[in-house]
């Protein structure tokens, strides 16, 4: 198997994009190609979940190749729910590692603000089990609300802990020009004040507005290749490990509904492949469309014992400057969560961190980074480990 590295990154500011989905993805693709200093690629792997439903366009990978005049490069779309981006990176890794392709473009993108909020909610809810969940009005926030209530009951997590995740990630995002939300809430306003119920209403109780990520348009792209292929403009950041695991479709069929077993198993596989452990990780991007998931994932990937993630958060361990900064980019919570883009954007952030290009949100001397990209409510998870050294 060849060594595989990321040589180029490109991303737009998440939020509202005026043009079309393919144009948005093409722009970040060019940014990644320029970053790596390449003008052609052998294959294009696209992560997108909702082009067909949200934008009434299918065949997104073919359209992207055409927009960039990259034909006859191979092109394929990977739809894997909110883990589409991570899965596209994984597929590109396999392609380069195997020697099938030398240089590959991976682009994730989603244009979600073209439809109403309730249509977006319904679109994402189509991830749930059609007969056993979806028909009841179950949405991803609803599953997260039920998960949070159990977590609070079992481990003593409070509304303040959840708000602390939100505030931390919004503060991180103030240093990230790519982040959708560029302001940070204060605890008093979202939990303490008389207006808190208006400013921060319940969405799926106990989860409130500030516990959820915004709805964003956005795209991110990477260039993957191998040191055996040659040199590029930027130094390599190596993909050392990839773990991918699944779990039951319905949440109610899981042995313990507070476990994210697929996150734990995917992380174990990625650590084994990388020959590294949780203590080696110096920066992490964890999939936090809901504040509770950052806490739960920080435990499942082995940074903290189960049930103690919120204590580490309280100590400041997961803030910039702490022992293991989580979501220096602002995470999905503040950066935004254009579903197909997210898994690719997480890798962009880690590459910038490992290159030392992350500006004011730089984790000092970061050498190893880990990303969790989670699909469904934890039923399809990709964990990726990156490192500066071979």
């Amino acid at each position: 198997m060849r060594k595989v590295a990321v040589y180029g990154c490109g991303m737009n500011q998440f939020g509202m994009y005026e043009g079309g989905l393919v144009q948005m993805m093409a722009e970040v693709s060019l940014a990644a190609m320029d970053d790596a200093g390449v003008d052609k690629v052998d294959a294009v792997f696209v992560g997108n979940m909702g082009g067909g439903i949200l934008n009434h366009q299918t065949g997104i990978a073919s359209a992207l190749v055409d927009c960039l005049s990259l034909y006859p490069a191979a092109a394929m779309l990977i739809e894997n729910g909110p883990a589409s981006g991570g899965a596209a990176v994984s597929a590109a890794f396999m392609a380069v590692a195997s020697g099938l392709y030398d240089t590959v473009l991976v682009t994730g993108g989603e244009k979600m603000r073209t439809v109403s909020p309730w249509e977006v909610t319904d679109f994402v809810a189509t991830l749930t089990h059609p007969e056993a969940e979806y028909i009841y009005g179950i949405t991803l926030p609803a599953l997260a609300g039920m998960f949070t209530r159990l977590y609070m009951e079992k481990y003593g997590v409070t509304a303040e802990h959840l708000a602390k995740v939100a505030i931390k990630n919004h503060l991180h995002a103030l240093h990230n020009p790519y982040a959708h939300v560029q302001l940070a809430p204060v605890m008093e306003a979202i939990l303490g004040s008389e207006d808190a119920l208006v400013v921060n209403p319940y969405v799926a109780d106990p989860l409130r507005f500030y516990d959820l990520c915004p709805v964003s348009d956005g795209a991110a792209a990477l260039i993957l290749s191998s040191p055996e292929v040659g040199n590029f403009k930027k130094p390599p950041v190596f993909i050392k490990g990839i773990g991918h695991a699944t779990d039951t479709h319905t949440v109610h069929e899981r042995k313990d509904p507070t476990d994210l077993t697929a996150v734990r198993l995917a992380a174990e596989k990625a650590y084994k492949m990388a020959d590294l452990g949780p203590k080696d990780v110096m920066v992490a991007e964890l999939h936090d469309p809901f504040t509770i998931l950052e806490i739960a994932e920080s435990e499942e990937v082995g940074f903290f014992p189960k049930g103690e993630g919120h204590l580490a958060l309280e100590r400041g361990d997961t803030s910039l400057g702490g022992s293991i900064p989580i979501n220096p980019s602002g995470g999905l919570k503040a950066k935004g969560h254009p579903v197909g883009a997210t898994g690719v954007a997480q890798i962009c952030e880690l590459v910038w961190q490992l290159r030392g290009e992350a500006g004011k949100r730089q984790v000092k001397d970061a050498k190893v980074g880990l990303a969790v990209n989670l699909g469904g409510f934890g039923n399809n998870v990709v964990v990726t480990i990156l490192a500066r050294e071979e």
Binding site: S116, P117, W118, E119, T121, D122, A125, H129, E131, A132, E133, I135, Y136, G137, I138, T139, P141, A142, G145, M146, F147, R149, L150, E153, P201, Y202, V203, A204, D205, P206, L207, T248, T250, V251, H252, E253, P257
Partner: protein
Amino acid sequence: MESKIMGYQCQKCGKIHYPFHLRCSSCGARDFELCDLPDEGVLLTFTRLSALPEGYDVRTLNLGIVELSNGVRVTGQVLTDNMKIGMKVKVTVGTVREIMGEPVAGFQFLAT
């Protein structure tokens, strides 16, 4: 409209599944038979959802996961506002949604 929702019992190891699978999650066997599900259970967790997807004309929905008296778990709508973890519920089947103008039957949980 159907008034009953059935479980699927593995004919090799006896595990009861809901929803339907073609391969047993416990032993991998492929033969199943329909079986009745109990109409009593305990609320494991719940949420009041205020941001509803397209197609509802109510403001909020109470949703929960119930562990039936035989240990099988199901997701459904809770028909009381006084929800508590561990509360006993009666499980019925009623209209939970209209999709494309057609009523859809599903589990509803009533306080006992």
